[in-house]
Symmetry: D2
Subunit: 324 residues, 4 copies
């Protein structure tokens, strides 16, 4: 029989992402609407182990839906990767009367949620990461904002690249997953994109491409580089040496993690937050919420963590067709 | 046997929407990549009837992906609603060697495409409207940008409403479809939303809601009004009179139609533009491209025009739960 | 001998303006750095009369410099326009140990500050209004943000006006002072601007201008209308009837009052806030801070209120030259 | 007797800056209004020497006021630093009937204008640089946009720094002049700023500052670093090692050069462009336009190049007071 949940906790874990506050707000307000009590667990699993637990009321999440970051903060926690840490975490939940927890984060955070579930705490994961690198969902909280932030920055770089007839390498986030690079590649009309999923980095090919385009009268050459594919600054120097075309690198860095969330991130994060509460009310545990095939759905965490996803081939193809 | 297409035309019709330029660029570049010739038809069906037809090369669509509006312009055209006009349009296509046309617009524009198809011109429609009011697709070109524009404007109104403890009515676009209002309702945490699909406008209920919230200490009251549900300015006067709370109306108007498209609008419009060309190459006609259940798909225009869609009930429900 | 000030109050009064929070933060932090205590007076003079007075510490103004609105809120107050109200206000200051007050607002708010000064409370005014309509200063807190907000909205309207070959009337704020309209007139390349300072509104002249421009091939006609010069919606109808050119009105309204302040508004508001504290420390009273001839200066309030300023003629002239 | 000018040229030189297009548009339109002919000289002095000279009409500068970069492009030109190059440049001007030139750029570009003037071409310089590092003017075209771009990026970095309780180093432009760093220092409430003008970089002092702030409960530590003051990435590693606080570097790079200009940049660049034409009409030569003490003024180029300016001491002081 499903356990009845009366008090739930909510935490954010791993890298922060715009829209996490919208999700927190939705968890708190949906829970209160449905008659539950809510506790905020600060700084992810680290704060759980240190009992940084606060009561949350409807007004505590006023005026946060439009804010970047996470009001609950986040942190890494090595202690929670040990069986002792996990057990202690579950005991602290029980001590505070928390019988359900909503964990907002990425795959690593979901593994923590799995462990809490094994120790009898009902857990629901929400996909929160700017990288879109969670296989069980087509949407993750923060990706839409991050990709717009990167795109707007690259639009600006492009203005000056065109004025100076320069080659620009822009390094975007996504060490293991090139979605930000792919989307910006299409949206910014980049001449070249370097993705971890399509790793066949051939500098000579890029050099040839720049030289050909220059002959055809193209006034700029934009290269979008997912972090991790080589080192943008030294790449710029080598490309300039080989082509004779002035080449500069920009590393967008952590600005991609912040900023007021886009409408999609606010709406989807809110929907997912409400759904997490509804799943807890149905007695569900060890589940993650996702968005697939046009619907908000949920999966067993074990099943979700075993899924794989790749770069959509059609978009990869048109990305190259359209920048000609 | 499918007709082989060698030269295609592209036009934008109906109200303009951000991302139309990205779609035009994709049609032009994908077609050229695949060995086709491309003609731009200016000012929609009106320009077709007046033979405002220009050659389009890859460089003609350089540096437009980030621009609002449509470089091909758009116009209303009563003449094309008549059988004579439709036949003349098809003849002009043939005269210019155009054997396939991509029409970017809404349901009304698709009806025109249907007629061209009946007269032997292969046609593919792309959904372009900020209102999201096309039943055959979950995505329309321009909605994502428009809803972010509206949301950012409402964020600003909210700042000042809070400072003055004021009630604000913001009128957004969407005469027949309340998607912009619903999304902003969630994303801006609006206290009340008035949608055409949920038309049970009861001013007394809103008045009571304002008075209750004021007692509970809420410092502002945001009402989002889809255009067509009453008249915002006079509504503001009546609500102020009934509640004693200072109430102001803002009408966002046409600014929602413009602006540089968001990343999603650029990427999806580009993908749809490329797909339209691929469908023409496969010999398809009388089809519209859509996005459904997580995939880019296509439907027969007749079938698409017969579809219905409504406001998602779960989001309507949580919109009210979360603004408490 | 100058009175020594130990505890200061800060309030915002009149219409709110972006940058007021930056000014509040500067007052609080500069005062604490210099060894003073600070009290926040909520909701302007209304809150003063109701003793809504709170202690303010350095951390109370953390994370507000980037926020629109005013954390101290603002309100109209008829009671403070009476001698009884003014005396009561001064007594409440004394009761709370407040011997100096920084008033952030417009000319009306400065008149209140004058009265407090007469009753022995040292007062310094800071110019806070989006309208730039304070004669003693070339800069007012909020104008720079408001004019950028209006300009960005008009850029978007222009995209769609061009696509539809439409005439657009955009109503911006500034009932008595046309600075927002003038700046946007130049910055948006508007074809016509209607200002209260240059009131010779001749609709026939505008109609002729539209017709001439249409003949010369101009694809849009942007009219910027300072609120108060006629009624934009009915003007649109008359112009459409007279020219045959589709004409639409947009009323930007209160969104111009909100939003995160620009860099200039944050830097100048911060500098003025610090300077207000330094003036109080020097024993000054009945002064307003201004920015003139490239410097932050201060004037006697009586002198400041007697000043006049007009629209800069050179910019009015080039505005018309450059839109040709 | 002043030479009568009939045909003027306009060029942009050095690093590009947002607002240069507004200045070009103003030069072209003001000149045409006053009965002059206008030629665009592409790619600065390099394009002059290669006779890349085009006719410019009023409609050639339509729809560019809102665009970043420069439609005339810009380039470095070593040849023009030689007497032979300078003489050849003047001869090319004469050959094309150009008797006056408006040069938009920085001090280096003004030196070129000086040489053209010596060879009998009337020249007027307009200050165009994002760095504000021209001593004869309080305003340079592009600074206002660049500083807002940097500030908005740092706002986003701050969101995530707060969520992770991290130290962030943000490198902004300004190798020889720290104005962007100083303004962002105030506007973003940075805990530390490193400026070339205040060079007493003491890493131990920063380390101590971080440790003290951490004890006082500050959740983030933002360091703004003008490019050239050390190497941000290695600085981050050393600071993390010394403090134990996670520290990350972001290098904003060329995005600060692009983007749609702010209202101030559009209005001031337009005014300066018009004024340059008026000065040529008055027969002036070897002058630069500036903005000083609240007015648009002009100086002899030799005099302007000899001026010095420094960081405003009061703002430097309050920058440190207010971040406490």
């Amino acid at each position: 029989m499903a356990k009845e949940v009366k008090t739930i906790g909510v935490l954010t874990s791993g890298g922060d992402a715009p829209g996490m506050n919208a999700a927190i707000r939705a968890v708190v307000r949906q829970a209160i609407t449905k008659g539950l009590e809510v506790k905020g667990i600060k700084r992810g699993y680290a704060g759980l182990l240190q009992e940084e637990i606060i009561d949350m009321h409807a007004q505590d999440v006023s005026d946060i839906i439009q804010r970047g970051g996470t009001i609950l903060q986040t942190a890494r926690c090595m202690d929670f990767t040990t069986p002792e840490g996990q057990q202690k975490g579950a005991e602290i939940c029980k001590k505070h009367g928390i019988d359900g927890v909503v964990v907002i984060g990425g795959d690593g955070s979901f593994k923590g949620a799995q462990k809490l579930a094994e120790h009898g705490i009902n857990t629901i994961g929400l996909p929160g990461t700017i990288d879109l690198d969670i296989a069980s969902t087509e949407y993750t909280i923060g990706f839409d904002t991050a990709v717009n932030t990167a795109m707007e920055a690259i639009d600006k770089v492009r203005d000056t690249s065109t004025s100076h007839e320069r080659c620009s390498i822009i390094e975007v986030m996504g060490r293991g997953a090139g979605y930000i690079a792919l989307w910006c590649g299409i949206a910014n009309g980049a001449e070249d994109i370097l993705l971890p999923e399509k790793y066949n980095y051939d500098e000579q090919m890029i050099v040839n491409h720049i030289i050909e385009n220059r002959k055809r009268g193209k006034k700029h050459h934009i290269i979008i580089n997912a972090e991790g594919i080589g080192h943008s600054t030294s790449m710029a120097k080598r490309i300039e040496a080989a082509t004779g075309v002035e080449t500069r690198a920009t590393i967008l860095g952590h600005m991609q993690r912040g900023g007021s969330p886009t409408c999609k991130d606010r709406v989807y994060a809110s929907t997912m937050g409400a759904k997490a509460v509804d799943l807890l009310l149905e007695g569900k545990t060890n589940r993650v919420v996702g968005y697939r095939h046009g619907e908000f759905v949920d999966f067993d965490i074990d099943e979700a963590l075993a899924m794989q996803k790749g770069i959509p081939e059609y978009q990869w193809e048109i990305c190259r067709n359209l920048s000609k």
